[in-house]
């Protein structure tokens, strides 16, 4: 287990001790049941990340930089949006997010530091960003691609703790849980299991049940045709066109409407695809590529787009 402590703003050595004491005090006082503390009273906080690393945030961040589109969506959803001063070039939701030219794929540590952030949120430790931020004593949270809804809830709560919005995060998680429950209840288990093909691009890359979006299909009671190709890649295999046609999915979900401009017509025009059940019955759903590839609160919007088609298919079955 690797451990690194990041102490924002702890410049002189003399303050180091105070911060640690404060951190200990903060941790004990959390369970103390103080009456309605202001948001800043939660700090300092220490967060243990999924890789075992711990991150300490000494005071409520006011200058957050997010390099993860999902992280950005989560921060705004939990009510920390006003503390966010810069987001990366792929963070296009919500529209009010302060989009910059910062990149989460090729992070430029100097450019990030120029915003003088007191918290950085990223999805991957690429380009030495964690070490770079540590060297600058800027706390950084890595919130990697979730594999399950529970992963996503944990990340929301971590961000809530780190930004001083634990109640906001709990609220979002509770809302997601109840919305997802109602979607799941709205589809009954059909007698014949319906098959789904989820398309990431027009060279037939797909997702298995081992991914976040694959979990959602599982919740909706669908059988995922990409699971047979787990040997090719456990999460995102490329499928043979022959296999897709032979598997004859009842539902096709296109998550390549933006990247590759795919829709029912372009799918029906592919050689050999016109005979597929989903194409014949028009059950080809285009979804926003971004919503389908992120693991934030907008998974609800994804379910809203897909669930009615599952209901229609069940009625027809």
């Amino acid at each position: 287990m690797q451990t690194h402590k990041q102490l924002a703003g702890a410049k002189p050595a003399a303050r180091f001790g105070t911060v640690v004491v404060a951190a200990l005090f903060g941790l004990t006082s959390c369970g103390g049941g103080q009456s309605s503390p202001p948001a800043s009273a939660h700090f300092p906080v220490t967060i243990t990340q999924s890789n075992g690393a711990t991150v300490t945030v000494t005071h409520q961040p006011r200058h957050i930089v997010s390099l993860s589109p999902t992280g950005t969506e989560m921060l705004f959803a939990i009510g920390a949006g006003s503390q966010v001063i810069a987001v990366d070039d792929q963070s296009n939701y919500p529209a009010s997010a302060p989009k910059t030219k910062l990149s989460g794929f090729q992070p430029n540590i100097e450019a990030i530091a120029a915003y003088q952030p007191d918290l950085v949120v990223a999805s991957d430790d690429v380009g030495g960003i964690v070490r770079g931020m540590q060297a600058l004593s800027i706390p950084i949270l890595i919130e990697p691609a979730a594999k399950t809804l529970d992963d996503s809830y944990v990340q929301l709560k971590q961000l809530g703790t780190a930004t001083g919005h634990p109640a906001g995060a709990d609220g979002v998680v509770a809302r997601m849980r109840s919305d997802i429950d109602s979607f799941v209840r709205s589809v009954s288990k059909p007698a014949r299991q319906l098959r789904v093909y989820h398309e990431l691009d027009n060279t037939y890359y797909s997702v298995t049940s081992a991914t976040f979006i694959g979990q959602v299909y599982k919740l909706l009671g669908l059988s995922n045709i990409a699971d047979a190709a787990s040997a090719a890649a456990p999460d995102y295999p490329q499928l043979s066109a022959e296999y897709i046609v032979a598997a004859n999915p009842d539902l096709i979900v296109l998550a390549d409407t933006k990247c590759c401009q795919q829709d029912l017509n372009s799918v029906a025009a592919r050689p050999g695809w016109a005979v597929i059940k989903a194409v014949r019955s028009g059950q080809v759903v285009g979804v926003d590529d971004d919503i389908a590839s992120r693991w934030g609160p907008r998974v609800i919007d994804f379910m809203k787009a897909v669930a009615p088609h599952v209901q229609q298919l069940e009625k027809a079955a």
């Binding site: 792929q90 499928l239 022959e242």
Partner: protein
């Protein structure tokens, strides 16, 4: 010198052996056998009987007929065309540049095609021009532009007197185009997966459209190279000697390079930049049969076609129902095979 203007001495060219009929037959057999394996094997099991029925137009289960005619047959035919073209273009490049490491991508064709495709995928996704998807058109234009650029650059710098100047111009153009391609790819992360699978090769989605798109180019390009096979033999003996026979080295080089580039650009446009075929197939032919271009050109066409169809069969069955990019297979299967051939033949043949 006055007497010999345009014709190469028949005496000189008859010094090299022509294509032994047994090897010609072996090449044809390889094409038929690989195509047979290609249509019989696939991620969806279809009995050999049904495949034969479908081929002769007999009654087959409509689902199986759909898979065979819409997906499997065009992919095999496209594999034959792409493999044959890349191998013959590789042989041609090695001939005109008298460089064993030359391949169809030497003058920047792959870098240009990749840049064109990346731009089309990121800037104008899903658009078509007169019914043809813009990605292969952009790839074709990019490949042609890169090679033309290398040719003009090489000419202004060295006056085309030396091969090295032209090759270095190609290297410079390729590096330049690659850097732009990577910049565009990096700044358009939403389309990165599509760009990536394009670069690794995509016989996956082309279908009969792809076949009809490349067929005229392959016929024209391979035809021109085939007609120049004796002149390529003449080039082998050296530039000064060839010139003294009255052959315009620069003209032969230009015609063959243009033909090979057009064919390469066309197959790369539909198949992606599949690596290695243009190097190993001609060299394997040289090692096994002989170095005369009357042998190397036709046999590269046949064995290149067979090789790519077999590689693609592996690509679409080894992790079925998933796929492995074909560019990965050509190098993974091709490199060890090539080492074995090299070890068991005389290195002198190179």
């Amino acid at each position: 010198m006055l007497g010999v203007k345009r014709r190469a001495s028949p005496l000189l060219l008859s010094g090299l052996p022509s294509l032994p009929w047994i090897w010609g037959a072996a090449g044809l057999l390889a094409v038929v056998a690989s195509a047979g394996i290609g249509v019989l094997v696939g991620p969806v099991h279809i009995s050999p009987g049904a495949v034969l029925q479908a081929l002769v137009g007999g009654a087959v289960d409509p689902g199986q007929a759909n898979i065979l005619w819409a997906l499997r047959f065009p992919r095999v035919v496209l594999g034959l065309l792409v493999g044959g073209m890349l191998a013959v273009a590789g042989a041609a490049y090695q001939g005109v540049f008298r460089n064993p490491l030359a391949d169809p991508y030497l003058l920047g064709a792959a870098a240009g095609a990749n840049l064109g495709a990346t731009l089309a995928i990121s800037v104008a996704p899903g658009t078509s021009v007169i019914g043809v998807n813009v990605v292969p058109l952009a790839a074709f234009a990019g490949a042609a532009a890169a090679v033309a650029g290398a040719y003009v650059l090489g000419r202004t710098v060295t006056g085309l007197r030396s091969n090295t100047g032209l090759i270095l111009a190609g290297v410079a153009i390729a590096a330049f185009f690659n850097s732009i391609q990577q910049f565009v790819q990096q700044s358009q992360t939403s389309s990165i997966r599509e760009v990536y699978s394009w670069i690794l090769g995509r016989l996956v989605t082309a279908g009969w459209d792809g076949v009809f798109l490349v067929l005229p180019y392959v016929v024209l390009s391979a035809g021109v190279i085939f007609l120049h096979r004796r002149l390529l033999d003449a080039l082998m003996i050296g530039e000064d000697e060839t010139t003294s026979l009255g052959i315009s080295v620069q003209r032969v080089r230009l015609i063959v390079v243009v033909a090979a580039t057009l064919g390469t650009a066309a197959v790369v446009a539909v198949g992606g930049t599949i690596a290695f075929v243009g190097i190993i197939v001609p060299h394997t032919v040289r090692l096994l049969v002989g170095r005369s271009y009357r042998v190397v050109v036709p046999l590269s066409l046949l064995f290149g076609a067979a090789f790519l169809v077999l590689a693609d069969t592996v690509a679409r069955t080894i992790v079925a129902p998933g796929e492995v990019p074909i560019g990965v297979i050509t190098a993974f299967v091709g490199a060890p095979f090539f080492i074995v051939v090299m070890r068991s033949s005389r290195a002198a043949a190179l």
